[in-house]
């Protein structure tokens, strides 16, 4: 087993990997940018190496500096987390060249799955269903027209090198074809330096359901069931659960079997995810493979009982998988809410800031994977994920009730805005409770006004409490300004100066 591992990441996933290291008796090396000197992952690590200025391009994306940090600290392996360099084949190669084990699949597997057209071809060859579409990249409007005739509208034009919603165009009418082609080619060239594109049948209101796969170097490849990830905004997941309320046991088995076939087709090693779109008729289509650990991996951990990050490290160290397909079963139900520093009332715009108070939910069935702390901050340089709040329940109904309880317990204050109220609304939405969701759920159901109306104070007692607290807080500030000194006052002494307080700060 490794003695020391460098974690080429930050935030909650870096802390998650540090915890896995610690449980395995491995020393964890953090890397950090200038903005992250006092970040949680630096505090929790055994060693910490600065790798450059705050912008990710000058630090967390600097392959040279990270490899150098690994060599200088004697790290024997690198865990890339998710995001940043996690799916960068060049990074995996650079690690190999430096004699440091990359905890993930081979650079070749990363590359094969990174090119969407290549991946589709590979998957089709392996008998994995893909969305109906063009088998290869297209060259002209004419080719597009031919496929539209064959598949019917609507279709989706996609850049072969695309990702993150860029280089993608929906065609609903035939007359839109010329402009769509021009736009996709131009966006793809601008964003990825690669104008190739292809075409897929557009599924209306599909579900996003993915299957966790795992493979070791001994040829064992298993799946650990599915995750339902249909609650998304701007193509980014907000809430995930396992199992999916939509799948039948037969479908779960079929999708699992297909996912294992997909992983084997690229000689996959380690943890990976096969993302599928599922239509209302329960047809499922390969969308893409994520060749890394995912944000939402804990829901799978909670229902299967396996620690996927520890398993990643064990597999990378050349050990066989600690479980076989027969050992894997789902018990109960897990849900994850991603707690972001963002403003749901303002298009989910990032709203980072200082955290003056943080009290996370605790108690039965609650897991909190957090990347920050009270006194720290959510930096505006990076993804504004505060933490992942997870619950487990015997069944979906208990998990829902528990998540509502946990969300209500969550306390965070500071100069940031969070999406807690959004989650409180979602977890009480009748369609969500019924499991009736798809990737367009939020487009259909969510308006900023739903949050405002849910916080209307028609209870005068609660209003009195809110005002008493607000007034007291203002009062404490005024007192502090006027009299100076001292920490926040505690009970009793707080009101002593009442007589001096004359004017409320506007």
């Amino acid at each position: 087993m490794f003695k020391r591992i460098l974690i080429a990441n930050r935030g909650e996933i870096a802390v998650r990997v540090i915890r896995a290291c610690r449980e395995l008796g491995i020393e964890a090396v953090a890397v950090y940018s200038e903005a992250d000197r006092s970040a949680l992952h630096v505090r929790e690590a055994d060693l910490a190496v600065p790798i450059g200025p705050a912008p990710a391009a000058e630090s967390y994306l600097r392959i040279d500096r990270i490899i150098d940090a690994a060599k200088r600290t004697g790290a024997e392996a690198i865990h890339p987390g998710y995001g940043f360099l996690a799916e960068n084949a060049e990074f995996a190669r650079a690690a190999a060249r430096a004699g440091v084990k990359f905890i993930g699949p081979s650079p070749e597997a990363i590359e094969k799955m990174g090119d969407k057209v290549e991946a589709r071809k590979l998957m089709q060859a392996a008998g994995v269903p893909v969305t109906p579409g063009s088998p290869d990249t297209l060259e002209s409007e004419e080719e597009v027209r031919a496929y539209v005739k064959k598949l019917g509208l609507p279709v989706l034009l996609k850049a072969a090198a695309g990702g993150g919603g860029k280089g993608m165009r929906l065609i609903e009418q035939e007359k839109d074809i010329p402009e769509a082609v021009r736009r996709v080619v131009s966006e793809a060239k601008a964003s990825f330096g690669d104008g190739r594109f292809y075409l897929e049948k557009f599924l209306r209101r599909p579900r996003h359901i993915e299957v966790q796969v795992f493979a070791d170097t001994f040829g064992n490849t298993v799946h650990l069931g599915e995750r339902e990830c249909s609650i998304q905004r701007r193509h980014q997941k907000l809430v995930e659960e396992s199992p999916s309320p939509f799948l039948t046991p037969e479908m779960r088995e079929r999708m699992g079997e297909v996912a294992v076939r997909a992983a084997k087709a690229v000689g996959y090693v380690g943890a990976g995810t096969i993302e599928f779109l599922v239509d209302a008729e329960r047809n499922f289509y390969f969308m893409e493979m994520n060749t890394r650990i995912q944000v939402e991996h804990p829901v799978t951990e909670m229902v299967t009982g396996f620690d996927l990050v520890k398993a990643q490290i064990e597999v990378a160290a050349g050990r066989p998988l600690p479980f076989t397909q027969r050992d894997i079963s789902q018990r109960g139900w897990a849900i994850e809410c991603r707690i972001y520093a963002e403003d749901p009332a303002n298009g989910f715009a990032a709203a980072p800031g200082q955290i003056s108070w943080l009290k996370a939910p605790e108690g039965p069935g609650v897991r909190h994977d957090c990347g920050v702390y009270a006194g720290g901050e959510v930096s505006n340089y990076y993804d504004p994920l505060i933490s992942k709040l997870l619950v487990w329940g015997r069944d979906r109904s208990e998990a829902l009730a528990r998540m509502r309880r946990a969300l209500d317990e969550f306390e965070i204050a500071g100069t940031l805005t969070t999406n807690l109220d959004f989650h409180r609304w979602l977890l009480r939405h009748p369609r969500f409770i019924a499991g009736d969701i798809d990737t367009h759920f939020l487009d259909q159901e969510y308006r900023p006004s739903v949050l405002a109306s849910s916080s209307k104070l028609d209870d005068p007692v609660e209003l009195a409490a809110v005002l008493a607290a607000a007034w007291s807080s203002e009062y404490a500030v005024a007192r502090h300004d006027g009299v100076g000194g001292g920490k926040t006052d505690r009970a009793g002494s707080m009101w002593k100066m009442a007589g001096r307080f004359e004017l409320m700060r506007p």
């Binding site: 003056s356 108070w357 009290k359 209500d408 317990e409 306390e411 965070i412 204050a413 500071g414 100069t415 805005t417 807690l420 109220d421 409180r424 949050l451 405002a452 849910s454 916080s455 209307k456 104070l457 005068p460 007692v461 609660e462 209003l463 009195a464 409490a465 809110v466 005002l467 008493a468 607290a469 607000a470 007034w471 007291s472 807080s473 203002e474 404490a476 500030v477 926040t488 006052d489 505690r490 009970a491 009793g492 707080m494 009101w495 009442a498 307080f501 004359e502 004017l503 409320m504 700060r505 506007p506």
Partner: protein, 165 residues
């Protein structure tokens, strides 16, 4: 002490009648509440009102306070839309200060006359509303230019009471 308080855009009138230890007596509209308020941790307040327990977090964002609880977050601001921040709505123009009624009620006393010199926090008019007499004070030192109400008169919220310069 009397305030206009905006909660999620809706204006409320808050009267802090007394503060004694952790006990605060508030009047809100026509109801009087005795609240026990404890600052249990930075930003965190435990408030007991009418036997009910509220655990509230208060953060300042710009000029607003965000008060959050199990039931969601509220934006609270102590300055009314009309710029009021004390006993009455204050509209100042070039040193001119308009005192306006912050609630409907009956004028039970007029304590100044035009030409009087007044000091900041001096009472100008007393309005009876919600079974309570509320003294409207001037926030600034100056001279009374006009008095627009007389004893016994009924005023609506926002009516001009007096002008101070």
């Amino acid at each position: 002490m009397r305030y206009f308080v905006s909660v999620d855009g809706t204006e409320h009138e808050l009267v802090v009648e007394s503060v004694k230890g952790n006990e605060v007596v508030l009047t809100l509209g026509e109801r009087r509440f005795e609240a026990s308020v404890i600052n249990v941790a930075p930003n965190a307040f435990s408030v007991l009102v009418d036997g009910r327990s509220f655990d509230l977090l208060v953060s300042r964002v710009g000029r607003e306070l965000i008060v959050s609880s199990r039931n969601g977050s509220r934006r609270v601001s102590f300055a009314s839309a009309r710029g009021a921040s004390r006993g009455a709505a204050v509209g100042a123009g070039a040193g001119r200060l308009e005192l306006r009624a912050m609630m409907p009620g009956r004028v039970v006393d007029v304590m100044v006359a035009p030409g009087d010199e007044v000091e900041a926090e001096q009472g100008i008019v007393v309005i009876e509303a919600m079974k309570m007499e509320n003294e409207v004070k001037t926030p600034k030192t100056g001279k009374v230019l006009e008095v627009r109400v007389r004893q016994g008169q009924t005023v609506e919220k926002g009516d001009l009471l007096a002008v101070i310069e």
